[in-house]
Amino acid sequence: MTEKKQEKLDQAQVDEYADQLKRLQAEFENYQKRVAKEQKEFVCFANEKLIAELLTIMDDFEKALENVKDKGIKMIYDKLSKLLVDQGVKPIKSEGEKFDTFKHEVLCTEDTGGEEDVVVEEIQKGYEMNGKVIRYAKVKITKAKKSVGGEDKK
């Protein structure tokens, strides 16, 4: 390496090095910009992850309230709900709505004879946070019984 350096660099090599340096600098600048953006996103995402975990506790509370009418439990539930609302979390409306794959996830279907693709049952409540879905609602939707099949249909 050192020996090579002693030799006179020809112009082409100088250009190549300058070019390399510029590229690296550009890439670094872009990298910095993206890291800044990612950091912001990361904070949101980290929050989101924690809140998504809290949602299972909301589920537990709702199940509890269905079973026991206890004022104390209701109070804790209300407190947790308020905390979530303050963070910009709100439940997704599902039942009776038209199925939307950007809000709902179908777990099963039912033939009611009525209109198709309508959510008849919310199996697990979905939530969005500041306009972004953090948990998709798991739903049962209407569907006329027809042929069943998937990937291998000719």
């Binding site: 390496m1 050192t2 390399q20 590229r23 690296l24 550009a26 890439e27 670094f28 872009n30 990298y31 995402f45 299972t56 589920d59 537990d60 199940k63 509890a64 269905e66 079973n67 026991v68 199925f99 794959t101 950007f102 709902h104 996830e105 179908v106 777990l107 099963c108 279907t109 693709d117 049952e121 199996i123 697990q124 972004k132 998709y136 798991k138 049962k140 939707i141 569907k143 027809k146 042929s147 069943v148 099949g149 998937g150 990937e151 249909k153 000719k154």
Partner: protein, 618 residues
């Protein structure tokens, strides 16, 4: 603008992912919908809705149950055949379906990179024939991507682990255990070429089976405990599925986890809760037979390659389920070889494809291989403490400066002693060299500003410069290749740093106490003059007394650090009270208190010691 990027794509049967090289390192392109259960990858699902919308990835998966006739999964299994998907009266070839997935990847990559993407490297299983490879290439063309290379998935995984850089020949076993398939490949690497020796696998075995085993166990256990069958309760099953997946992931790092699902269901006897402990041992038992099924494929691959397990030099794991400790342990026992670690098994194929893309774009060659400093570099400061200027693992070239000061009044020279290592006391580290900076004008200690600069160039030559900021006097030393410690020496020093870390920290703390006490005495004696007449005489004499006591303790040959510390605290308290009183009377702000100044050197005769003066760094 930087050079054109060639992205690497892992076009999988159940999940797909893409990566791109960034400053020589692969980075996964995040899916536009954000991270999912599958990490940054997304399901290889394409769907057409009745109202003519096309969906790719997560949105397609979420509607699959209600729209099976419009949803296409695992098109990879049909690629290269004459099969046609007929969806709502329109025909699609498997290439077209794959092209929709590639299009999404192209779009995600473009928004991630902020520049157009035109070229890609796509991976395929090692057993793909020419037809299947050509069809995969065609899929890329349809998506508007020029496929510059088709790479075998196991080769890509090996590239991610840098196995192509090995200087000796390797025989590599790649164990790719995905969501629904198992592929075992044995390859030989030599003269820069990977050659597939054998492949084997099971197209109906994967991580999904493991999840089901856990779910079934929970349902069975609940039935035993309560007599309730919840297999048909959708809500309950959804909660169990989520809890099971979470438990499985947790058990990769902990030995035991709780599954608590209150009010899972209700009977006439009242609500029923599910509460159970799941241990890793139990999980292992549940999936044991499934994992054992993989052995057949491993044995077959070895047999076809005409090798016994001793012939394998490297084992690479690919796919989410290989994160489970039991899978790693079993593979290790079958092959008799430790598996490679360090790269996310769900990302390594895409990573490897991106590396291949980088090589083809000429990018990899461009990246200078930058070295890092294996150990920290710094100088000795007051009390023999090692003060780091450059932390270990810093990428070079690098330049760092810090301002220090003198340790004694009227000190006119400092000795800069340069050390390398990671122990807190300088003398426990490797001494690299030293020099004096003379001609510093006489001044009270702590006043002169000596800037010490460490500069390591790309060749690893360390230049240490000391500059007296007052006079501009400068002195320096060049230390050739401080990084050229041999590996064994670096390793030994690192081990020592760990081994002695506790004792060293204690020693350093003791020295800090002594240094503090020293400063305190110096400061207090100075301030006493200011206190005269402004602070209660009783207080002044108390301060004097404590200072004398502290001085006595400090003068002892065998210093009792605990006693010094106690005395120091006492003195601190009364001195602070006096100072507050003084400032209150004078109406001055307490912020103007004297700086924490360095102290005189005790045990050494040479007073050419530099002192870390934190306040001057601003």
């Amino acid at each position: 603008m930087s050079k054109e990027k060639i992205i690497g794509i892992d076009l999988g049967t159940s999940n797909s992912a893409a990566a791109v090289l960034e400053a020589g390192r692969p980075k996964i392109v995040p899916s536009a919908e954000g991270a999912s259960l599958y990490g940054k990858a997304f399901p290889s699902v394409v769907a057409f809705t009745k109202d003519g919308q096309m969906l790719v990835g997560e949105p397609a998966r979420r509607q699959a149950v209600s729209n099976p006739e419009g949803t296409v999964m695992a098109a990879k299994r049909k690629i290269g055949t004459n099969f046609k998907y007929n969806v709502y009266g329109k025909e699609y070839t498997p290439q077209q379906i794959s092209a929709f997935i590639l299009q999404k990847i192209k779009k995600d990559a473009e928004s991630f990179l902020g520049q157009p993407v035109k070229k890609a490297v796509i991976t395929v299983p090692a057993y793909f024939d020419d037809n299947q490879r050509q069809a995969t290439k065609d899929a890329g063309t349809i998506a508007g991507l020029e496929v510059v290379r088709i790479v075998n998935e196991p080769t890509a995984a090996s590239l991610a682990y840098g196995l192509d850089k090995a200087d000796k020949d390797q025989t590599i076993l790649v164990f790719d255990f995905g969501g629904g398939t198992l592929d075992v490949t044995i390859m030989e690497f030599g003269d820069g070429v990977f050659e597939v020796k054998s492949t084997s696998g099971d197209t109906q075995l994967g991580g999904t089976d493991m999840d089901n085993a856990v779910i079934n166990y929970i349902v069975k256990k609940f039935k035993e405990d309560t007599g309730m069958d919840i297999g048909n309760d959708d809500t309950a099953m959804q909660r169990i599925r989520e809890a099971a997946e979470k438990a499985k992931i947790e058990l990769s790092t902990v030995a035991e986890t709780d599954i608590n699902l209150p009010y899972l269901t209700a009977t006439d006897k009242g609500p029923q809760h599910l509460t159970m402990k799941l241990t890793r041992a139990k999980l292992n038992e549940l999936v044991d037979s499934l994992v054992d099924k993989c052995k057949k494929s491993v044995d077959m691959a070895l047999k076809d390659a005409k090798l016994d397990s001793k012939g394998i030099t490297k084992v690479i794991l690919v796919g989410g389920p290989t994160r489970m400790p039991i899978v790693q342990e079993k593979v290790e026992s079958w092959v008799g070889q430790k598996v490679e670690h360090g790269i996310d098994p769900m990302e390594c194929v895409a990573d490897g494809a991106a590396i291949q893309g980088g090589v083809l774009a000429g990018e990899v060659k461009d990246v200078l291989l930058l070295d890092v400093t294996p150990l920290s570099l710094g100088i000795e400061t007051l009390g023999g403490v090692f003060t780091r200027l450059i932390e270990k693992n810093t990428t070079i070239p690098v330049k760092k400066s810090q301002v220090f000061s003198t340790a004694a009044d009227n000190q006119t020279a400092v000795t800069i002693r340069v050390f390398q290592g990671d122990r807190p006391m300088a003398n426990d580290n490797k001494h690299l060299g030293q020099f004096d900076l003379v001609g510093i004008p006489s001044a009270p200690r702590g006043v002169p500003q000596v800037e010490v600069t460490f500069d390591i160039d790309a060749n690893g030559i360390l230049n240490v410069t000391a500059l007296d900021k007052g006079t501009g006097k400068k002195q320096n030393i060049a230390i050739t290749a401080p990084n050229k410690l041999d590996d064994a020496e670096v390793e030994r020093m690192r081990k020592e740093a760990e081994q002695f870390s506790e004792a060293d920290t204690k020693k350093k703390e003791e020295i800090e106490v002594i240094n503090q006490a020293d400063t305190m005495i110096y400061q207090t004696e100075k301030s006493l003059k200011d206190f005269e007449g402004k602070v209660d005489a009783k207080e002044i004499s108390a301060i004097k007394e404590k200072t004398e006591e502290l001085k006595k303790l400090m003068a002892e040959k065998e210093k009792d650090v605990a006693k010094i510390k106690a005395k120091l605290d006492e003195l601190n308290q009364i001195a602070q009270k006096a100072a507050t009183e003084l400032y209150q009377k004078a109406g001055a702000k307490p912020g103007e208190q004297p700086k924490e100044a360095p102290k005189e050197k005790k045990e050494d005769v040479v007073d050419a010691e530099v002192v870390d003066d934190k306040e001057k760094k601003e």
